[in-house]
């Protein structure tokens, strides 16, 4: 370490497990240990603050197809993505935080971006209500039929109460991917499941000693905002506020 600040939270040499490239040039990774796998299975279902039961049923069924559980690992349901979306839509973002909301309202070219008057909360509620009214029973379809329906949403432009189905699909996929990969403090990516799958180290990050050790296989467990340093903010105590 060449940092002159002795207050870094830990010695990365102890926290990180690396295996350098072997003589044959082939990196071998240490196997990931499925931490708390049993707890993950038994994790209690989160309470919804935004979705009503019908909306929740649609969201759960849809995200299960967008990112399914398969041989690569848990999917959106196991990662808690519906809970993430629920908390986002029920919070400041769902209410239109950082969104310019003055009229006049007019649909423009695709290059001009989102031009609907709905907040994200209103947008999801409106489109899901229309789907549940016009196409009841999505949750009871077979996975193949569900995929076919989602494909039609993506490629079509059916009017869903003022929201075009392809626009709704794009937003649904966007928040699903967010919930899958965002820090677990936001209620998705439970147990950092997606980070473990792809090998992303999460919030804690100091790779000074490793960046130029090429082709190392990074195998240490990831770190969440909530868990790192027991949830405390790191402050460089030696460096005074200026």
């Amino acid at each position: 370490m060449t940092t002159q600040d002795g207050s870094l939270p830990s010695d990365p040499g102890r926290r990180r497990l690396f295996q350098a490239v072997g003589a044959a040039g082939v990196a071998t990774a240490l196997p990931l240990v499925p931490v708390q796998a049993a707890q993950q299975q038994a994790a209690a279902k989160q309470a919804y603050i935004f979705f009503n039961p019908a909306e929740a049923t649609f969201i759960e069924s849809a995200v299960a197809r967008l990112i399914p559980k398969d041989e690569t690992g848990p999917g959106a349901i196991e990662a808690g993505v519906p809970n993430y979306i629920d908390k986002q839509l029920g919070g400041a973002w769902g209410a239109g935080e950082r969104l310019y909301r003055s009229g006049p309202w007019q649909q423009g070219a695709a290059t001009q971006g989102y031009q609907l008057p709905f907040t994200p909360g209103e947008f999801f509620r409106t489109a899901i209500r229309a789907i549940n009214e016009k196409h009841p029973g999505f949750a009871t379809l077979s996975p193949q039929e569900q995929d076919k329906f989602i494909d039609a949403l993506q490629k079509g432009n059916e009017d869903l109460g003022g929201v075009s189905s392809n626009v709704f699909f794009a937003s649904l996929l966007e928040v699903t991917i967010e919930g899958f990969f965002a820090d677990p403090v936001y209620g998705g990516n439970r147990d950092m499941t997606s980070w473990k799958m792809i090998g992303f180290p999460g919030a804690y990050a100091d790779f000074y000693e490793y960046v130029d050790k090429h082709n190392v296989a990074y195998t240490a467990p990831p770190t969440s905002l909530a868990q790192d340093a027991n949830g405390r903010i790191h402050v460089h105590v030696k460096l005074k506020r200026t």
């Binding site: 600040d5 989102y114 960046v211």
Partner: protein
Amino acid sequence: MATRLKETDVVMLGVGLVGSIIGRELTKSGLEVVGLERGEPRYTVPDFQAPAMHDELRYSIRKSLMMDAAKETYTFRNSVNETALPMRRIQGFLPGTGLGGSAVHWNGQTYRFHDADFRMRTLATERYGKDFLGPEYTFQDWGVSYADLEPYYDRFEYLLGVSGKAGNLQGKKIAGGNVLEEARSREYPTRPMKEPYGSALFRKAAEGLGHHPFTQPSSNLSEPYTNPEGMTLNTCMFCGFCERYGCEHFAKASPQTVVLPVLLKDPKFKLRTQCQVQRINLDSSGRNATGVTYIDSQGREFEQPARLVVVGLFALNNVRMLLLSKIGTPYDPASGKGVVGRNYSYQTTSGVNVFFDQNTNINPFMRSGASGTLIADFVSDNFDHAKLGFLGGAYIGEVMSHGRPIEFHPTPPGTPSWGSQWKKAVVRHYNHTAVVSTHGSSISTRYNYLDLDPTYKDAWGQPLMRMTFDFPENDIKLSAFVTERAAEIANAMGGKQIAASPRKRPYTSTQYQSTHNTGGTIMGVDRSTSVLNRYCQSWDVPNVFVIGASCYPQNASYNPTGTVGALAYWAADAIVSKYIRSPGPLMS
């Protein structure tokens, strides 16, 4: 009714990179300066500390450090035939807000432009003839040369402590540095950054093709450094949370780490945050600014009288401030007359993904904002354009800055966008993909410009600025050419597959490409085609100076911040050594 405050020597609009430098230089010369910043005060400790700072959702996706579109945004259209509509979310580019401005969340990629950029009209005409491009292209000379700005680049780089290796030291070519750069008077303040794996693969491939790779100059430092202001920066930890984030380590050069603390201790400087400037006030002649009117966080209106007004906002907001203040003649694309808003340019970027086998660990998360390797062989006029039919150039490099997974989860062409196949491809390729980028110039045209929107207003009731832009044919040709060169290098990097995406029309405001918005208050030597003279001084109102990338008559191949810093010192020098002694126009 506005409360009239005591007159000050200078009022500075925006306390970001430009405001901090100008504030420091002018207070040092004995002037009293009031700095007005629209956003909140914020400091490395406690505001940028980990782990809270390492939050991709909050900072990259929800854009916590950026301009709040609920209060103000821009309207956009691709051509004058369309109705511009508001960018309801900030997506395509990222104007910062708050103390330190966009130089808090930047990547630290720090370059110098070429003489061929500053004297583009003259030198391109000499080399390729005066009718090489059509009359719709309005590129022109800046009124300054590289030689004029070299001492100011030097000063700026030593303020930041830029890490790199000279390739042209006073005309002497040095292997390992960028041998195609303009001559620099001194070596970089700190040694080059360590090289990540993907960059090393790029270096080897580029060398094999006869190009001249070098380490990206970085304002995230390779080693501790104390600058001439007495500020000490630390070593970059390659945490992978750089652009869109503040740096917790004191390793990224930003106003907070290089100059602001010194400025804030000076009793001649008064900082006022959460102040929204409404306009620069002019006297009845319209030729002299009397100060500014602003509204504070409680909604109270103030008039701050000042003898000199310096505008150092984000480039687009510099243009808007002059339009709102009625300083200079607004540009009219129908007649080609007028100057304010003229020559809006951008940056022409593209990428090539290189997909490797599973034994190649790229580790994209072990990165800094500027720790790549690139070539300048196709930058600016470093190559012959005679048979290519376009002007300008691009650097090509493996300059990845992060592996944050909401933003970065590459899949090969043909992969579905969701479902099990998508998921398997993400898991397979996340750690085994490198990206080769091209970062190209943007030429100015008659039809790309900025003006005030006739319909949409900000939270204070003022018109939003309207952007009319699409990629010119010249830049589409440029992107096709440099993306082919990038693909050749990518193919030689040892991957199993590459996927190249040259830039295509139309420009879309929803896809992030670059925050290098330039032009609109351009500098020059002819007042019929520029807003500012060569000292960044308004032709029309000589006690107003405007500094930023809005001064660029067209945008060049490299990232613009190095040149913004050089212009800040250049203009500060003109104000202190010329203007203060004899207030009035510095050029006639």
